[in-house]
Symmetry: D2
Subunit: 416 residues, 4 copies
């Protein structure tokens, strides 16, 4: 169970770190400062120039699409190897996109790669892999507890050669981006079927008539423009029969395949975020003085630093092990490990970001440090892709089943 | 040590609750929806109409200036009695202002009431008590750890009959409000004096030449407009010699007097916020279904509810006791109790708001519930008026001194 | 809601503190050192001399039976007043017995006082009130989850004029004491009756044939001799029909009446224990040196002290409020408050004792400080009289019922 | 960084697990039941028969001295490999001794192996490796904070060809065992030398005149007989000059070499203990019924199980990584990892044992489950070999040094 940085990864990781430090981070403030200039839901010319320039350069250097570990387009990396790269990306707000490794595109590309028809791949996977368009995943609904995916009730009914979709989805991340051209939508196709065969996943181009942006959802008062987390209404949205992925009733099956990697990516980026926050915390602690001493020497601050270091190391190792399980064991077993990291890691990263905020005082909540943004991103993670409670239930039941002999209940929940 | 609701308070509390529920809360959404309409740093006509109408009505009913417990303008309430009223105000975003009990005006009015000259009272206290103008308190500075107030370095130098002020302050809460006419500014008047005699507090009208709004500071991406938390530069700001409060070198003495009540108000409003969050959490828990059961029946949710209830009760009792100490013992002793609540209470209210967010899922972070706003307000409280670490130091040192016999070091810190 | 020390209590509390400090604590080490000398389940002549001498003196001074707040034998104290006395007793291992205020006698005396027949009172209550005998309460059974009292299955069957009892009970506290003459035993008298009318409470003299001491139960390797926590078997134990308290099927009713006071006493003594531990911790922190500084100045130790102080104050206030509710509101409402303190307080006292152990290093676990004993006593409290989980359930359900409108399920559980 | 079970380890681990399950665990209750029979500080004939029989069998099968990873007597295992074996041993009270892998012998054997002279090896290392005698390590002193090893003040003065030792040591683990023949004693040889060159380690046979057993120290009321944790006085104890290990003033150097492995062993056994506790907890949760349901379905119990599983996995991975660092990097760097596990792991194992106790109710604290014993062992570990606070200081300082550029202060502390 090698969880280390492989010889193959070493130069790639070094190049990626260098690229982030030398090419991306210096441009990031300028990029971020332009958000909202000229309208919240569009990019400025300068933003486009920065992002497309970085993408071009990254792709030219082969720093591209790492997340896709296998297959013809695959990077050939293991999930463990990719995890180290994702951690680095987690230290920058825009790096994941630069390397074409940003959610929700990565999950969508995986779905299309694994389950898409040739036509679907050609039409949507190719431009996504090339970084030419972006995509969204519409799963969560305002009216039902979407953490239990069987609650989903947006309907798709086959009329002739078309599926007709009606319903509402919210928190569709990325749907605000003008470059977002395609959505995968979780729909209910057969309410009479057995509980896990009622759902399907279907491709809906963003410009399909009947798709309406109601409003951007906020996350702690941020709209995350122009990426956005949209609330949309689907009113008699018609898409060709062939837009169905894999076939009706197979929505869960697809979710299961999509589940793992995205969560590992999230968790590794969370560890990058925690490292970034701890670094800022330490810099502050050694440079800021109060009551005649550097903050590092006051009260329990050194304990805060020590606990953060231990927690990060444990979180990273657990995530690497989950990645290794993903690479090496049956997905059913790996699933438990993924639920473990999905619960444990964001709670750790939040705590560290929160301590960093406290060490900075008012500045920690201000626009002058990235901490407030990191906080919101980590806090969101405790809800996105299934709240803690659901993942804890998965882990707890699995453990108890070893003693009770009961069959495991299939907990099916949100993936995005 | 009567911590209960006195007979005298009972009808007043009932009237206040009724007023909030029947008059304020129904108008609150409309008021809040107009924030930013027509510019972030001004009020719309409708907002003014709502707020001034409510204030007029409240004042007419005698629901006004409760916070001022003693003196000719005093309500005659004890701090314990006021605490119960403050808790109710904490359940609404705008109620404190409606009753002319909003920070930082309350602290400023107390300072003027206690330490102001007759002329200062006439010019500034009167219109503040009447709710005609608003005010700000400029303490924290960007370049130094302001939790240690001796670090403050904005200077005031006497030139003839004028004090000339130079420096920068930030997180000046309320300074964005167009009705804000006056600031109390903490300045350093004598860098050579003993450590706690270097500072002074001085009145600076907002429109004094040289006072420059650099930018609004954000709190977790919110600018809290039009109230605002401003970053200002003071460049050769000249105010008359008589604007000094109490006299040069007495800044700390004033701070000490200002310390207590504001923190008790904050903490009682925090308890109101926690009650509001717990109420929302419970409503959600009994009405939302997942995995075939109401959320209340899933996993550890009932424990979350029970722990919240216990924590709120303990936090409330501790705050009431601190209020009672404020009313009944030497301020030096009461100070320890105030540091206790200032540390303990916001940590409890944050945890409860956070659990409520988790129970709501994505909606908990959205604009559709008040939880994200409550979260930010409570989180801010762990930093405002001295961070946890400083208050914990005060409490811990006091306790240890009983065993070591050492004299207490005067921890002097931010008040706002 | 006066939670303070009343004028009436003031001199009594002062006398009690003085008596503990001057009369009891100096003799305590000698008393404790004799435990086990000459056999674990008996007292030495010196122990008897010490204890009976102290009791005689205490009784002579009127420091006796405070716990009985009302009735002809009552102290006339409110529960709030008694709580302050109980806290002081919690700082000594033997003080509660000296003042005839030790569990389980107090609960048994309350039961006999409230529900006993005249004959029962004369035979058992009188000598208990006089401190001439001791008693036990047999509730918990080894084979069932006794936290759900409906599980109790020791049976009592009426044969002629006698009840015939069969079954096993364990953790019968105090049953090892040679002075223990009487037990109240919870039995099942009618398995066909409605769930809460199946149980009864019956008086069983310790020397009744068929009552067999199987073994002393340990608590963290301590047998707590000669008090002891016995495991007993009841084999065709015959007692007169009149030994039934109140009547068959009224076991729960009696439990409900017994519930409250005992738990308040436990919690107040727990606060005394926490104060004692914090005092020891602080003394150590200021007097012990490592790395060139007193421990108090190292790492987060001052925060540990501060948090302990705040937690104690909150725990004490909550317990006092529960006591006040006991005195002033309907027992059904007071019950919720008692469940709150029963959960919250021991968790706080354990944490503080644990921190004190850590501050002392190895000595903290040794026989040279009282900390290990305090730890075990506090840890036991999280299980005795209903585990945390059951009390949390009571509190959580009560809270949620305000929103769901569901009738409260009667959680009935162990009392002892 | 392979943290998995190597191919080489696989059969050995299987054999060890099988041996523990089939040979040791069935005899363990009988062995433990004989403790104290015929005197607390000796073994019964049956105990000797059991232990020596198991040792003979274990040694015959090559399940012997695994802990010694290198050198002529070495098992050839890496520390990572040994860690997996130690975890299994942690599930039994006596297994470590059966395989000759019990503390403090292991640390003493390592010291002799690494630093002993040929004569010292022959006289003491040989019989220890053969399991013929046992040993102790005398470090901690009652009068000073021994977590700061420079405080140690037992003196050794050279008189002619002999060192003359005077002082007191306590918590000398294993010194109660009649088979314990030799102690390594930390002494101060040169109070004038630089701070880290004042100490030395010296071999003292147990039967040397002047070595006096004052009393057994207790750990939470247990004396852990006949192993014991002795308090000894050294009064003019004379040992030959050659009993000094490595030379005067090199006590710290030896400690540094001894530090790592023992702590890794402790932590891996702690993980075994946590696994055992979690297993018991789960068995109880699925088999015990209250309020009409198995405990596993009540309240937050499933969350407790899930959190325990996650924490164990994180603790194990961190320990395995520390072991890997031990095998692969400079000891100075490995030291930080060892401080991390020494803090993080026992806190996790304690929490899990504590939850298991709570799930069992009173039985969890009784002699009928191994939980109370596990609790005490884990609690002790937070103090033994340096308390949490010291290890946290090591980790925190190391982290901060990356930002401050300050040289690391040499934290030197207790090893045992």
């Amino acid at each position: 169970m090698d969880l280390g940085i492989s010889d193959k990864l070493k130069p790639l990781l070094a190049e990626l770190k260098g690229f982030i430090e030398r090419e991306i981070l210096p441009l990031e403030p300028e990029y971020l400062a332009e958000i909202g200039v000229g309208g919240r839901w569009q990019f400025t010319a300068r933003q486009t120039e920065i992002m497309e320039g970085l993408k071009r350069e990254a792709r030219a250097r082969g720093l591209w699409n790492f997340f896709l570990t296998s297959g013809e387009h695959g990077s050939g990396l293991s999930t463990v190897e990719y995890a180290y790269l994702a951690e680095e990306m987690g230290k920058s707000h825009i790096a994941a996109e630069v390397f074409n490794c940003a959610a929700p595109d990565t999950g969508n590309m995986e779905v299309l790669h694994k389950y898409g028809s040739e036509a679907q791949k050609q039409q949507w996977l190719e431009p996504l892999l090339a970084g030419e368009i972006r995509s969204a995943y519409a799963m969560s609904e305002p009216e039902v507890a979407s953490s239990d995916a069987t609650n989903i009730c947006t309907s798709a009914v086959l009329e002739g050669d078309e599926w007709v979709i009606n319903g509402e989805k919210h928190y569709i991340s990325g749907a605000g981006d003008p470059r977002c051209k395609i959505m995968i939508v979780m729909v209910k196709t057969d309410p009479q079927a057995p509980r896990h065969l009622q759902q399907s996943q279907i491709l809906v181009p963003m410009d399909t008539p009947g798709v309406e942006n109601i409003r951007p959802m906020q996350v702690f008062a941020m709209d995350d423009a122009p990426h956005g987390h949209m609330h949309q209404r689907f009113s008699n949205v018609r898409v060709p029969k062939d837009n169905m992925i894999l076939g009706p009733g197979r929505g869960f099956e697809i979710s299961q395949g999509r589940l793992g990697p995205g969560r590992i990516h999230h968790c590794m980026r969370a560890i990058g975020a925690a490292e970034k926050a701890l670094g800022l915390l330490c810099e502050r602690a050694v440079s800021r003085t109060a009551f005649g001493k550097p903050l590092a020497r006051l009260g329990g601050n050194i304990d805060i630093v020590a606990n953060a270091r231990m927690d990060i190391e444990m979180a990273r190792l657990l995530t690497l092990k989950a990645a290794w399980m993903m690479d090496n064991v049956d997905p059913k077993e790996a699933r438990i490990w993924i639920s473990m990291i999905k619960t444990a890691v964001p709670n750790i990263s939040i705590r560290i970001v929160d301590e960093a905020i406290q060490m900075f005082g008012a500045l920690g909540m201000s626009q002058d440090t990235p901490l407030a943004g990191l906080y919101m991103a980590q806090r969101t993670l405790r809800l996105a892709d299934g709240p803690d409670a659901v993942h804890r239930m998965v882990v707890g039941r699995h453990e108890l089943r070893r003693y009770s002999g009961e069959p495991e209940v299939n907990a099916t929940f949100r993936d995005g």
